[in-house]
Amino acid sequence: MTELLHATVAILTDPVTMALAVVSTLIGIILGALPGISSTMTLAVLLPFSFTMEPGNAMVFLLGAFYGSAWGGSISAILINIPGTPGSMLTQLDGYPLAKQGKAGVALTYALIASTFGGIIGWFGLVIFAPTLARAGFAFQSPEFAVLMIFGLSMLAYASPGSTFLAILSGMFGVLLGTVGLDMITNLSRFDFGVPRLQAGINIIPFAVGIFGLTEILKLLEQRIVTEKAATQIGEIWPRFRDVARTWATALRSSVVGLIVGIIPAAGSAVAVSMSYAQEKKLYEKTETFGNGNPRGIVAAETGNNAAVGGALVPLLTLGLPGDTMTAVLVGALLIHGLQPGPELFTKHPDFIATIYVALALTIILTFILSLALTRAFAKLLSAPPRILYLGILVLCVTGSFAVQNALFDVLLMIFFGAVGYIFLKLGIPTAPMMFGLVLGPLLEENLRRTLIVYGDWSVFFQRPITVVLLLITAVVLLLPFFGKVRERLARAALEAGPD
């Protein structure tokens, strides 16, 4: 509590930190609102700016961009029917029809109020659950952490869109990339191919910028860039208080769902909004219709989306498990600043944890204020010439990669991974698991080898309750698609057999 108070005072009274929070939130909203710029891409290209900042300021900066872009995605979803981020994919279902009715401003305000409410619930979830889970995390030793990494990788591969099988292979490729360079125990180099620069390993920033930044630009260049015009005028901004109040139960339920889904490693915001929206649709199927401008649909999707942000930070901070690609980039940011996410972060750096709490709260408030004040300006931005944006991102990808270690080699790495990501995309291989593999691979290797050195053999993994439970869950996760396939075949066989 004392740390929280100190962090609040320190952030609110430091003009530099406050300026960083405002700027990063603004950039996050703007980039999130532009179709084709994902939250992960936003974070990846902004990450190099955080190197020279002290860790607290870096997190204020990155969380501002993270949360801002999560909300920004809804602006384009409502105004031009294209979600800026995966988390806003269901906001468009009711947001855009409302905008077409000339109520774009009202739809945006509904979404903003809902996202702020969801964000606050997510924040409370983070503050309440993170310390509890961190305390439980102290029961984890190297065998538990080794199995946790395997569990995390499996969950992340399972949750990735596309083929689960290829996602697992992609994740393993990421683990291999994580082993490039000097081994931490024997100091022997692996996979350096005679290139001395590779002995230092593959830096996460050029990798992330290449995979999530350059790959998107390459994909974009395949065909004509379509610039959508906002379908309507903004019109009135404020909905009636009575109408907003009518959705309070939806907001609460969807926030709780978003928070819980966000806490589950790998579930991510897209799953959170899908569950929140589906739940409300089911509850009100007899009295209301969805998909034609129903504010309840906007509220369900937005609260779920933004509550998941706070939830996703729980496994990240307490166990070092990223919930999605955005939080995987945040893990990279923490590691660059010499902070290893995990239970010890809570005991060794309680002030830093408090800074994260305050930074997230500040970002939620700033997003609300800035969005209300600048709604019309954000709408105009959607019709800005795309060449400026895409050239800017391209130059940022190069400059940011160079700035990591002031090395031209990192620029080459970024180009290489951008091209690899593009080829993978064309082949239908999910790229996000590669990122998870790169982040979790070194932790898996360290803990697995430490376990074998300390305990002598593999049987330890089957003698400890936590490892057994995690291994069982991992097995279920990996076998689920197979069971699904069997069930589908049985259903098809039953259909073909007819009613008899």
Partner: protein
């Protein structure tokens, strides 16, 4: 194999009743190629032996596990596609790897490599501006823009302003020592 894979890894349409896609086979081949390169690197390194230091399985332990999983997984993917293709009597091409789609992304990758190589001899800012000039025009053209007289001046100005702005941000803002 997962349900998703049954739905076709590179597309959205179901291939349960239809033939598999060539890109699915290529995806498996890519992983086999990665595994071959990785195993060659591990195999030819005399220092990377398994289980050299007591209970420590050694620095090549995880790399060998990863390489094996990727290699066998890639082979399984290829075999699955061949099996489905034989069953369906044909294999579909997806139209993903056609020159009309690939030439501009390929040009960007090549020009980025040239840009990277030019940074040291020309200096970061000069190389960036030379890179940005044609690409701002290409993005303008790809988004349906016309090349009227106005744009012949406006586009170079935009290219210089964007690169100069980003350069200044990094150079003066966070003291990055550019070449």
């Amino acid at each position: 194999m997962s349900i998703d894979q049954e739905r076709g890894v590179a597309g959205t349409d179901s291939v349960l009743a239809g033939p598999p896609r060539l890109v699915e086979f290529a995806a498996g081949a890519v992983f086999v190629a990665i595994a071959l390169i990785a195993s060659w690197s591990l195999w030819t390194d005399p220092y990377l032996e398994l289980g050299k230091a007591g209970d420590d399985p050694g620095p090549s332990f995880i790399p060998w596990i990863g390489t094996t999983v990727i290699g066998l997984g890639g082979l399984a993917q290829m075999a699955w596609v061949v099996f489905k293709a034989v069953k369906a009597g044909t294999i579909k091409t997806s139209g993903e790897f056609v020159l009309a789609k690939l030439w501009l992304p390929a040009l960007l990758v090549v020009s980025l490599i040239i840009y990277q190589q030019a940074m040291k001899p020309l200096g970061f800012l000069t190389a960036s501006i030379i890179f940005a000039l044609p690409w701002v025009a290409i993005f303008h053209w790809r988004s349906g823009g016309a090349f009227t007289k106005r744009y012949l001046i406006q586009l170079p100005v935009e290219a210089v302003l964007i690169t100069g702005g980003i350069y200044s941000l990094f150079y003066y803002g966070i003291n990055v020592p550019f070449p």
